[in-house]
Amino acid sequence: MAEIVIENAVKKFGNFFAVNNVSLTINDQEFMVLLGPSGCGKTTLLRSIAGLGMLDSGRIMIGGRDVTYMPPRERNLAMVFQSYAIFPHMTVYDNVAFGLKMRKVDPTETKRRVQQAAELLHIEKMLDRYPSRMSGGQRQRVAVARAIAVQSEVLLMDEPLSNLDALLRLEMRAELKRLLAELKVTTIYVTHDQIEAMSMGDRIAVMRDGIIQQVDKPNAVYDTPADRFVGGFIGNPPMNFIEGQVSAQNGSVNVHIGDFAITPPEGIVPALKPFEGQSVIIGIRAENIETFTKPTDNAMKVQVLVVEPLGSQNLLTIKIGTSIVKVATHPDFPAAPDGDIWLRFPIDKVRWLHRDSQKALAPV
């Protein structure tokens, strides 16, 4: 059992909060993905969990033990460093075997596990090479092999596949996920790659400026982002955000984009009502917007600016008011630059956000 509980973790560099009051629980055997822009504190958080660099305040528990002040070796974990940090004076074999030697695993078992890890990462033919004579991607795989060979209860990975080509990454992703599930490891996995995050994570924690913005299952993070940042950061293209005016007449609440009115679903009406006469932000994903070539009920007329054919879909760029909106359509949908089309926003796919705080309005 190795549940990781982080309570109010704070890590400062001078006056700068690299990790700002983070609380996060990673369940036993869970695969948690940590996602966020460069410099948001992912590595710092991971290092704190590993025991490299003491927290300024807060607490970290692993498997029910308070490890906040324990040295790294007593935390029974393994880590893939963003910079790999493989030992240049050791062969690949000795690198991968390092954690096992330190834990005094017997030689035959060590050999078996090194072999297994090496095969998984396709470096079994390089076991007696030195790292200086390997490519960046190969070194990275040595670093991953070194960490998984230990078979510790907790595995921390800092962008472990970032340097591999697309095909190899696809393959590693699947195999790594399968192996870690088999070994019942609790994993925290840092990545920049959204596809990696969506496909591997049991849950995704989205981080920004040292703060965790949202923790949820991949689909929930994608469909119901907690705020504008998450919606904009996850998904390609990012979620569209359009400003709308709230009006209430005869007890019915509407949100207007220019002359066009959207009737929000029942559940959100109480949350929108206080903003009568003010504006809110409407968030909707490119692929959720319905497109028509003819005037249709509840559809607004817009002009197409750009059409980008992407193979499986066409991406249209449209201007609504002052906002640029991206709309994904079927490749056969007839849209041409400067042509008119009609858009409809399916109301159950719309996110409603506060204009100032940019956080999603909760259905009351």
Partner: protein
């Protein structure tokens, strides 16, 4: 542009006359540049090699050969070790060699023992006054050796340490420490701290991480710095002359005998003292390049 039609579907591009001329000019410029670099390098090399060559050729000819004029164009035709053996058998030379070696060895050990932890601390720990400390280390070198040596001589006389190899070794340690600390510091600094951290995360104690990861990586660099220390001490003459009378080190002894000795003694002495430096440079040249951020294999 003439493009030949061929049955093989390999596109053959034949450059126009004009393009070929441009290419020729570019190539010529490149060759010229490279040529200039060689000329400068050769000039510099001659500047350094010529004196060494002259000293060497003199030291390895017979005493009579040293004195003849004009010289043969190829002086090595009559290689003879008479001059060298004459030098080595001169009074005070052999004890001088032994003193020099003892002093250099003590200096090497002391200097490395002190500099290794100091270099580690400078490169790894951020402590108050680190930058000042780093500068202060160089402070010793800011004073001319003479300025340091005379008061030290007085002090050593008072302490009864005067005219002993140990006192020279102490002085040399003080003189070599700044360089040694900074060199060893940069050796440690060139090793990412994350390697130590990676070792500790994977189950090593700080001591194990140091012994299994850091030591093997810094050892070559420290060895190079130790040899460097040895040669600095071997070549040092001012402090050694001031701090000793009877127990002279080799350079002090040679310097002392210089104005009352024959040319062949001087050549042989110069050559003999040169040898360790040459051997040293030969062995550590890779590390020297390394220190300048350029690894040449």
């Amino acid at each position: 542009m003439t493009v030949e039609a061929k049955s093989v579907p390999v596109p053959v591009i034949v450059a126009s006359e004009e393009m070929q001329a441009v290419r020729r000019r570019a190539l010529r410029r490149q060759r010229l540049n490279r040529g200039m670099i060689y000329v400068v390098a050769i000039a510099l090399a001659i500047w350094i090699i010529l004196p060494i060559y002259l000293i060497g050729s003199m030291a390895l000819s017979s005493p009579a050969g040293v004195r003849t004029y004009p010289k043969a164009i190829f002086p090595f035709t009559d290689i003879s070790f008479d001059t060298m053996s004459f030098f080595l058998q001169s009074e005070g030379i052999l004890p001088g060699v032994i003193n020099s070696i003892v002093v250099a060895l003590i200096t090497l050990v002391l200097s490395t023992l002190i500099a290794a932890p100091a270099g580690y601390a400078i490169s790894r720990y951020i402590f108050p006054g680190r930058d000042f400390y780093r500068l202060a280390i160089l402070g010793v070198r800011a004073f001319p050796v003479i300025v340091l040596a005379v008061p030290l001589a007085v002090l050593f006389i008072r302490l009864g340490l005067f005219d002993q190899v140990h006192s020279v070794a102490l002085m040399h340690t003080a003189l070599t420490l700044p360089t040694t600390v900074l060199v060893i510091g940069s050796v440690f600094a060139s090793i990412p701290y994350e390697l130590e951290e990676a070792a500790m995360v994977h189950g090593a104690t700080p001591l194990q991480a140091f012994r299994r990861v850091i030591v093997p990586l810094v050892l070559p660099g420290i060895a190079a710095s130790a040899i460097f220390t040895f040669v600095m001490s071997w070549n040092e003459v001012f402090a050694a002359s001031i701090l000793t009378l009877e127990n002279r080190t080799l350079p002090a002894q040679v310097l002392n005998a210089l104005n009352k000795s024959s040319p062949e003694f001087q050549f042989a002495g110069g050559f003999f003292m040169l040898i360790p430096s040459l051997i040293f440079i030969f062995f550590i040249r890779r590390y020297l390049f390394n220190m300048w951020g350029q690894v040449t294999k």
